[in-house]
């Protein structure tokens, strides 16, 4: 994924295009198959049409320990409607047929383990560009990362507010797609306060990786997105999109547009 002279990946293309437009990319999270297949597809289409640059597609899991009530609720609804990983991949493939942007699969390790050694091909065939496994720290990542990357699918690594400086290089190095900076101590859906410490942390992460850096957890409002945009390549919004989607695809599209509009780095030198 990271080879300079290989064909550029969709992920690299999008981050480069956003950089040229002097804005941060909008990474939008939605739980796949919430609340059911047809409505989920309509929501995903509304989100990408309204300006989500990178789609983070969540695999429903029965025990999402890193997620707050909003994502947990979405996963519970999806599972109640019969969601399976095969169904998620099929949904991704259908979306992919009409959209050329990058799709990142967000998952807990256990559902992915069940794919066995064929995991890489299965993800690639569904048009998945990268994977983010929330409960697989770099120490354990190789068991899934190797077969995934062998199939040309990228790996997203998480850096947390608690990640010590000594650990940062190894964590940042393990990312072949992009680095996901977790903005706050907590689960998804909390509310983020942007302060100097966070900005310093984002700068420190940049210093350790040539890959794009996206920041997320707790970003709900355009003002937060605007405040973060100067420091990162991408801003991730999840729970706020799920909440908007509950009001229908139009409300979701409006929320996406509002956040997307806030990501421009006017007056800032492109980094």
């Amino acid at each position: 994924m990271s080879g300079g002279d290989e064909e550029r990946s969709r992920i690299d293309e999008v981050f480069a295009a956003c950089r040229a437009q002097r804005r941060a990319a909008l990474v939008g999270y939605l739980t796949a198959l919430d609340p059911g297949r047809e409505q989920s597809l309509a929501r995903l289409r509304a989100a990408v049409e309204a300006g989500v640059d990178v789609l983070e597609l969540g695999v429903p899991f029965s025990d999402p320990t890193a997620d707050g009530p909003v994502v947990q609720g979405a996963m519970t609804r999806a599972l109640a409607a019969g969601a399976t990983l095969a169904g998620v991949l099929e949904l991704a493939a259908e979306l992919r047929a009409g959209w050329d942007g990058p799709i990142v699969l967000f998952s807990y390790a256990n559902p992915l383990l069940r794919l066995g050694p064929a995991i890489g091909e299965r993800l690639a065939a569904a048009g998945i560009d990268a994977v983010l496994v929330v409960d697989l720290p770099p120490e354990h990542a190789p068991e899934l990362r190797a077969p995934v990357e062998a199939a040309g699918v990228g790996w997203v690594s998480l850096v947390a507010p608690t990640t010590p400086a000594s650990r940062l290089p190894a964590v940042a190095r393990s990312a072949s797609a992009f680095v996901y900076a977790v903005a706050l101590r907590g689960v998804t859906g909390a509310t983020l306060e942007i302060d100097e410490e966070l900005v310093a942390r984002l700068d420190a992460i940049r210093a350790h990786t040539a890959r794009p850096v996206a920041v997320g957890f707790g970003v709900r409002e355009p003002a937060q997105a605007a405040a973060l945009a100067p420091y990162v390549d991408g801003v991730v919004v999840g729970s706020a999109f799920i909440e908007a989607a509950e009001q229908g695809p139009a409300a979701l599209a409006a929320k996406v547009s509002a956040i997307r509009a806030a990501l421009t780095r006017e007056g800032e030198a492109a980094r």
Binding site: G68, Q72, L85, P117, D135, E143, V159, A160, T162, R185
Partner: protein, 400 residues
């Protein structure tokens, strides 16, 4: 996904630290602190002193001749963890972990609980040290263990009912993990069994090792020989690992874990060792009750403390190597076991323990000449509500 032994796993292909990056530094720091503290004589002395002065250790070893006669065994010995302060083995672990949390400068303790015994033990040790304590408990368990909820609140703990999922032990753990992620700098998560990310499985076993060490010495003193079979119930597996660890190096001693078969292995159950598959769950790689899609299945047991779809990684490894074997016992058989120990020895065990009691008859039948050592992990007061609901509430039953 491969079965090759990963050096970062502690127990063959099982163990590990499968946690979100936010928790990784805390888990590593805890591991380092544990590995430093446990060999430290000062730390050990403090732990032993509290076990003696406050918990009431050593717990006795009680011969159970009427039970032995009833089930056709040569001899049955009972390790009486039910006589510990707070009524179960759980407090051994709580004392050790709170001492460690203090050493790490943590100012707040959180815990999950199923039967409420771990919650009560945690609340107790927090009261003893004056630490604030929050206990997460599935809403179903809050209902069926109402007495323990009241005890925890009386001890000053905040009990938070968890309504998500199956509203039992696994969901309480999910919620405790969420709290820990948000408050990791100030808070120690006091896991109540030999499960979760490293160092918990090893640490909790070591903190319960005292059960096995005492039992081994007491058995030698009393009978002049080692027991032939050591039996314990298995939820997450802490009381079993505690007593097993005293006998792991005695190849002649058979180790038997008993898990909950609930309504039967074809129906709703909590028999992870019999029916689980390899998975990554609650910070560990171990056996897990799950569907083909990797979603956790809801466990069922009449006993809240065994109602968990996972199991500690060391048990998965002991089964893998053949050092221990695992049986399962249904809700009805466990109720029968509870009555059996009550009537023959005047000891009302916890419903968790009652599963191990119920397995004794079969073990005696395999070879009537053996000495069976049973870990009585807890007392049954907390379960009277549940037992009453299943029987004639007057308590009068047919005499047998």
């Amino acid at each position: 996904m491969n079965d090759a032994t990963d050096p970062s796993l502690e127990f063959g292909p099982y163990g590990g630290r499968y946690v979100a990056e936010t928790l990784m530094p805390a888990v590593q720091a805890l591991g380092e602190a544990w590995r430093e503290a446990w060999p430290d004589e000062g730390f050990r002395a403090q732990y032993r002193r509290i076990l003696a002065e406050y918990v009431g250790r050593p717990s006795p070893l009680t011969p159970a001749p009427r039970l032995a006669e009833r089930i056709g065994a040569a001899r049955v010995l009972l390790k009486r963890e039910d006589l510990n302060h707070t009524g179960s083995h759980k407090i051994n672990n709580c004392v050790g972990q709170v001492l460690l949390a203090r050493r790490l400068g943590k100012t707040r303790i959180i815990a999950e609980t199923g039967a409420g015994q771990h919650g009560v033990a945690t609340a107790t040790v927090c009261a003893y040290f004056g630490l604030p304590c929050v206990v997460y408990m599935g809403a179903v368990d809050v209902e069926r263990q109402a007495l323990n909820v009241f005890r925890m609140r009386l001890l000053g703990a905040q009990v938070v009912p968890v309504h998500a999922g199956s509203a039992t032990l696994k969901d309480a753990i999910n919620e405790a993990l969420r709290d820990w992620v948000a408050n990791v700098d100030s808070t120690h998560y006091l896991i109540g069994s030999v499960m979760g990310p490293d160092p918990y499985p090893t640490m909790v076993r070591e903190l319960h090792r005292v059960i096995g060490e005492e039992a081994r010495a007491q058995c030698l003193r009393l009978t002049g020989e080692l027991p032939d079979v050591v039996v314990a119930c298995v939820g997450g597996g802490s009381n079993a690992m505690g007593i097993f660890s005293g006998f792991l190096d005695d190849p002649g001693v058979a180790l038997v874990g008993v898990e909950a078969a609930g309504e039967g292995l074809q129906g709703k159950h909590a028999a992870t060792m019999s029916k689980g598959a390899l998975g990554i769950y609650h910070g560990m790689r171990s056996l897990v009750l799950q569907d083909e899609d990797g979603q956790l299945q809801e466990a069922h047991s009449i006993s809240a403390g065994l109602d968990y779809p996972g199991v500690g990684p060391e048990h998965a490894w002991l089964r893998h190597t053949g050092r221990a074997r695992y049986l399962s016992v249904t809700d009805d058989e466990a109720l029968e076991g509870l009555r059996l120990l009550s009537r023959t020895e005047g000891i009302i065990p916890a419903l968790e323990t009652a599963h191990a009691v119920a397995a004794l008859r079969g073990l005696a039948q395999e070879d009537p000449s053996r000495t069976l050592l049973l870990n009585v992990s807890g007392r049954g007061d907390k379960d009277m509500h549940t037992v009453m609901a299943r029987h004639d509430a007057s308590g009068e039953e047919e005499q047998r």
